[in-house]
Amino acid sequence: MSKVSKNSKVMSKKEAVETFVFDGAIVGMGGQNVARCAVNLAHEIIKQGKKDLTLTGCNLSIHMDLLVGAGLVRKCEFGLGGMGRFGATFQFKRAIEEGRMEAEDFDHLTMVSRFLAGEMGIPFIPVRGLMGSDIINYQAASTEKKCEIINNPWNRGEKVMLVPAMQPDVTIVHVQKADEIGNIIIQGIASHEPELIRASKATIVSCEEVVSTEFFRRNSDYTTVSYHYIDAIVEQPFGAYPTSTYGYYNFDADHISYYQQCARAGGEEYKKYMNEYIYGCETFDGFLEKCGGGKKRSQLKQEMLRSM
């Protein structure tokens, strides 16, 4: 059985999440901070109530916080959880402080090195960091062995830190362009995503637009990741909202701030947010309408054009 398919992978988010996300899965998270978080796919996972998830990535942001807030996450394995000037990811923060969720702290470079080992099919990889830090002195109860220090066979006496490969069960990522068989282009900064996607056992891609395979074959120098690693293509314009998609729209500071207010308050206020903006929206397009609709969308498009 070939692991790679060249058939059309275009499907609904519902089908994609039903097929590739399962209870207990390790879920790779694309995007970072206020940029290109696959919020539309996070909403769908919440609606389907896939639980006991382990989330992994570099800068886990609002998409992670939503899943944590929905009570679906048992562990995060990451470089950072937060939203920069918008403050902490409050549901994440509280879940850790209250001992309801495991946090396996690494560092961005360590995480991307682990995905690199994953995409290369090798079991571990050295990193120059971590040594001397408390990151290696604590590990989550469910982690078997976080890291290992060995002697450098080429320079005895030199200690070398090894970290294990990470191959998530399924990764969710939002990109600018994809074709129906799964070739994708990420425009602008690509963070940890090329490595993450290729390391994952399955990947669900949501995209701003589906373009032809011919487009990729005519611009083959610009393909970020080829179809070999992709399992589902979901077309969802503004799929990263309220975070940004480079070249398409800015993040929405108003909605993010409102989310942060609810997430920080927690309790009823957070439930209200979830009910109104997730459970209460039949579709992601419905969510977008509720958040300001076409007027908001053209404003965010304009803002993006100005910053390019």
């Binding site: 970072q32 920069g84 850790i96 470079l109 991307v112 408390d134 963070s191």
Partner: protein
């Protein structure tokens, strides 16, 4: 050109300007979010036009017209020579040894220059959880010069951080070497709104090297959880010029995202 010094500034402003002075025009600098971006962009717009920035998210040598909101702000790749990946920046530049300066903030900084951005209390069920390392651990592990900028508060400068997220000298002059870090004696400079402290590699401890105008050593000690030794040649931070303040206020941080508007702050 004659310098027109100004005394109409907030200490936070001078803190950013002073931090920028440690950046040379030939440096490659990796920038964390927040005040490091303010100070670094200020350096590029003033005395260090040739400096090149890299940002963990994958932006290589962007030209930043103003301080971005986060490391993932759409402006972060503006006019970059390459918009790449996290591996390009933290792997093939920082870990590869090609970055001169790491520029970070931090929730806690101790006498050894260790930084905590992880948690207070038992890390498995902390009293306060911070965002975590991001790229800071790798940066602090690999760069030859670490620049830290932070508001001076006693609880922010404890004798020993509760969690070493990013190693300074760990526990003394040989702390890094014993831990296995190749970059075993980096320069560490901490710039606050009260003073400048620099690591003494022979003791592995921060020493007080400069005071902000009008600030005394005692005032620093009162606001610090440890007692940084006084360097013999202790100096005073140079005042900002009117021109510098104008650039900082109206170009770098025009929307006052990072620095409060001076007039409002001072009540002027």
């Amino acid at each position: 050109m004659e310098k027109h010094y100004s005394k109409n500034y907030a200490r936070e402003e001078l803190m950013s300007i002073e931090a920028s002075r440690f950046i040379k025009s030939t440096d490659t600098v990796i920038l964390g979010t927040g005040l490091p971006m303010v100070a670094a962009i200020f350096a590029q717009k003033t005395h260090a036009p040739g400096v090149n920035f890299v940002v963990e998210s994958g932006s290589i040598d962007p030209i930043l017209p103003f301080a971005p909101f986060t490391v993932a702000d759409p402006i972060i790749g503006h006019m970059a020579v390459k918009t790449g990946t996290l591996r390009d920046v933290l792997g093939c530049l920082v870990q590869r040894g090609l970055v001169d300066i790491g520029f970070l903030g931090g929730a806690e900084i101790d006498q050894f220059g260790n930084i905590n951005s992880t948690s207070i209390g038992d890390p498995r069920k902390p009293k306060v959880r911070f965002p975590g390392s991001g790229g800071a651990n790798s940066i602090a592990s690999c760069v030859p010069k670490l620049l830290i900028i932070a508001i001076h508060e006693k609880r922010r400068f404890p004798p020993r951080v509760q969690f070493i997220t990013s190693p300074g000298y760990i526990d003394g002059p040989d702390g890094r070497k014993k831990a296995g870090l190749r970059m075993d004696r980096p320069d560490i400079i901490v710039v606050t709104d009260l003073c400048v402290m620099q690591i003494n590699p022979n003791t592995g401890r921060l020493e007080l090297t400069k005071l902000m105008p009008g600030v005394t050593a005692d005032e620093v000690y009162e606001n610090t959880g440890f007692e940084p030794k006084l360097r013999k040649e202790i100096g005073e931070v140079e005042l900002p010029t009117e021109e510098e303040l104008k650039i900082l206020r109206y170009e770098v941080d025009a929307d006052h995202i990072y620095l409060k508007e001076f007039s409002k702050q001072s009540g002027a």
